[in-house]
C-alpha cells in the first residue's frame, strides 16, 4: 500500500511538473485542452505517431520533421513528466461525483433530457449541436457535468452559434463551422450546410451563450450523474 501511495504521489508530482512544461513548450500550438491542432486531441488519449510512452517522449525530443512540431531540448526526466501530463489529459473519470448508471443516463438522454433534439450519437439525433458519439473519449466527468449545469461556461469556440439576418430580412441561425474575413459557414437548424457572405448580411452575431439550457434545475443531481455516466460511455465506433 505504501508503495502504491508513493507511486501515485510521484505521478501527481510528475503531472504537475509536466503541466508546467506543457504550458511552456506545448500550450502555444496545442492549446489548454490539447485540441488546438486540427486532428490532434490529447484528450482522446490516442496519438497517431506514438503507440507508447517512449515513442511519445521521442517525438517531444525530436519533433516531427515536415510538420510544425519542433524538437525540444528537454531532458529525459522532463520528457517523462510531460508524457505523464499528456496521459493525464485523457483521464475521463476525473472529477466524477458519485457513481452513475449509464443505462438510466441513456434513457434521460433520449427521453426527459431531449438531448437528441440537438445532439447526435451514431445515426440518431440532430446534427445541429455537437456530435456526441465519442464524447466519452474527449471529455472527463467534471467537464461534462459542468456542461450540463452551466453550459455557457464550457461552450467551445467550434460550437458557438451564429445569428444572421440578411439584407432581405431572412433570419439564419446555426452552429458555426468555419469563418473568415468575408464569409461564414454553418450548419443551420434544418441541418443544411450554409455559406454566407458577410457583405450580404444586415446583422451578424456570434452568440456568446450556449443555446443549450442548464439542466441544474431540470434534472436531479443523481440524474445528472447518470447522464454523465452515459456520456462517458460514448466512445465512438471508429
Amino acid at each position: 500500500m505504501a508503495l502504491l501511495i508513493f507511486t501515485i504521489r510521484l505521478s501527481a508530482q510528475n503531472a504537475d511538473t509536466g503541466q508546467q512544461l506543457y504550458r511552456t513548450h506545448c500550450f502555444v500550438c496545442h492549446g489548454q485542452e490539447g485540441e488546438s491542432i486540427p486532428g490532434v486531441s490529447f484528450r482522446s488519449g490516442q496519438f497517431r505517431r506514438a503507440s507508447n510512452d517512449d515513442e511519445l517522449s521521442r517525438i517531444v525530443l525530436n519533433g516531427i520533421p515536415g510538420t510544425g512540431m519542433p524538437p525540444t531540448n528537454l531532458n529525459a526526466e522532463e520528457r517523462r513528466s510531460l508524457v505523464v501530463y499528456l496521459r493525464s489529459m485523457h483521464d475521463t473519470a476525473a472529477g466524477a461525483k458519485g457513481v452513475g448508471d449509464a443505462g438510466r443516463g441513456m434513457a434521460i438522454f433520449s427521453g426527459k433530457g431531449s438531448c437528441l433534439n440537438c445532439h447526435r450519437t451514431g445515426s440518431k439525433g440532430s446534427r445541429l449541436g455537437p456530435d456526441l458519439s465519442d464524447i466519452g473519449s474527449l471529455r472527463n466527468a467534471a467537464y461534462l457535468e459542468k456542461s450540463l449545469v452551466d453550459p455557457n461556461d464550457t461552450i467551445a469556440p467550434q460550437n458557438r452559434f451564429v445569428h444572421a439576418v440578411t439584407k432581405d430580412g431572412a433570419v439564419i441561425n446555426g452552429r458555426r463551422l468555419n469563418e473568415d474575413t468575408h464569409s461564414i459557414q454553418l450548419i443551420d437548424e434544418k441541418e443544411r450546410l450554409v455559406s454566407l457572405n458577410k457583405a450580404d448580411l444586415r446583422e451578424f452575431t456570434l452568440v456568446k451563450t450556449s443555446p443549450m439550457p442548464s439542466y441544474k434545475d431540470k434534472l436531479s443531481s443523481q440524474e445528472i450523474t447518470d447522464l454523465v455516466s452515459y456520456l462517458l460511455s460514448l466512445k465512438g465506433s471508429q
Binding site: P38, G39, R48, N117, C118, R120, G122, S123, R127, L128, G129, D131, S133, T166, D168, G169, A170, V171, I172, N173, L177, N178, D180, S183, Q185, I187, D188, E189, K190, E191, R192, L193, V194, S195, N197, D200, P211, M212, P213, S237, Q238
Partner: protein
Amino acid sequence: MKKSLLILLPAVASMLAAQVSFDRLLHTDAEPQNWLTYSGSLSGQRYSLLDKITPQNVKNLELKWVFQARSLEKFEATPLVVDGVMYLTEAPDHVFALDAKTGRIFWDYDYRPSKDARVCCGSVNRGLAILGDTLFLGTIDARLIAIDSKSGRPIWNIEVGDPKLGYSVTHAPLVVKDKVIVGVAGGEYGIRGFIAAYEARTGKEAWRFYTVAGPGDPGQKSWDKDSWEHGGAPAWLTGSYDPSLNLIYWGTGNPGPDWNGDDRSGDNLYSDSAVALDADTGKLKWYFQFTPHDEFDYDAVQIPVLVDADWNGSPRKLLMWANRNGFFYVLDRATGKFLAGSPYAKMNWATGLDEAGRPMRAPNMSPSPQGTLIYPNLFGATNWYSPSYSPRTKLFYIPSWQDSNMTMAKTNQQYVAGQRFTGGLPRAANAGRRGTRNTPVEDSSYGSVLAIDPKSGQKKWEFKMSDVTDSGVLTTASDLLFVGGREGYFYGLDARTGSELWRASLGGQMEAGPMTYSIDGKQYVAIAAGQSLFTFALRE
C-alpha cells in the same frame, strides 16, 4: 433549444439539400447543376448538359477560387457537387466538404490509413460516391468508409481487403440501388482481384466477383496450374451502370506478374477485360477480354462509356472503350459482342483485331530477358484518365499518349506475400518529363486529345501537346471540351473541331478529370492541378 423560424432566401434555398436518392443518380440529366457521381452520370460519359459557358464566351473564364491540398501526393480526384456543396478528397484519404461557390470549408474528415498500406503508384484517391446523406470513401489500406455528408463523421468502416497483401482501394465507389460497389487495386502485388458490393446502410458485403477465375469457374482453365492464386486483375477504377439491363460494367487490370507470362500460360481470365455483372447478385453476365495473356501491363482499367445510338441502321446499346493497349472498341453492351475496333496509337505488339475482336499478336513481340522495344509503353495509349462522349457531336474523346514505347525485360520472380510481383524491368521509355523540365526530341512520345468517330474508328481531329497527358476529358452541351495535361495548361477546346479557344496555365500537372456544375445559374468548371483544385467561371 428553441428553434427560431427560418425564412428562406433564394440564395439559401439553393442549399436546400434533399437526400441524394438513387433515383437522382439515375436521372442526373434532370439536374445538370450537380455532379453526383465520379463521371457525372452512371453512363460514364463525363458529358454535362450545362451550356452557359460557350465557345463564344469561354475566353472570359477567370479563376474563382483555389483549394490547396495539404498533401504533396498526386491529386487525382474528381469532386462531387450536391446542391451547392462540393465533396472532395485529397490524398491519401482526406475528405472535405466545401462551399462550391467559394471553396470555403464546412468540415473535413482526415482518415489516417494503416502503415501497412502499400500502393504501386501513389497514395492517391480519386473521389467519393454519395447516397442519401452518406458519402462513401475507399482507402489505400483497403477499407470502405461511410461518412455523414452533413457532419463528416464516419458511420461505418469495413475491411475490403488485407493491405499487408497489397490490396487497396483508390477509386471513387459506385452506388447502385442500395449497394456500394468497389474494386481493389494491387495488380503489382500478386493479389487476387475482385469487385464487391456492400450494403450502403451497414457495410455488410452483399456479393463479390473475383476477377481472377478460381475453382469452379470455367475460366480457371485459362490459368496455368496455381498461377490464378496471385493472378492480379485488379479493378481500380469506377464502373458504370445500365438500369435498363441492370448490369454493372467494370474494367479489370493486368494479370500478375506483369511482364512475365511464362508461369501463367493461357488467356488469364478475367484480366484486362470488360466484365458485365448483374447488379443485384454480382453474377457474370458476359466478359470481353481486350488483351488475352497480357505481358505488357495493359490494364483495361478505363471508364466504361455507355452510349445508346444507331448502329448500322438500328438503335443499339453500345459500350465504347478506348483501351490502354492502343485499340478503340465498340461492343454491344447487352451481350458483350464485338462490333468494331481499331488502333488509335502506334503499336507493335499486335497487328490488328480478328473478327471477334481478339488481338492478333505480332511475332516475337513479348518481353524478353534482354528487353524488347514495345509500342505503346506500359502506361499505355491511354490509361485511367476519363474519356468523354458527347451525344451532340457523337464523337468519342480520348486523352492519349502517342508514339510511346518502352523496353520491356522480363525476369523470373517468385511470389512473396505483400511484395511487388511484376516479373520484369521496364526501362528506357520515351515518354514523360524528367524532373521539372521537359526536353522532347524527334521521337518522343506526346500527348493528344483524339476525337474519334465511333462508327468508323476514324480520327476526326487531334489536339497535340508537347508532353504526354494524364488528364481526363469533359464535354458540355455547348460543344466545349475541357482537358489538361502534364504541362500545366488547362484548355477549353471546340469539341467539333479541336480548336483551342481558351487556356490557363495552372503551374502543376493535371492528373484528374475536369467537371462542371452550377450555382444560382452560374456555371463553374473545376480541375485538380498540382496539389490544388482550381475553379473557374465567367467574368461577371
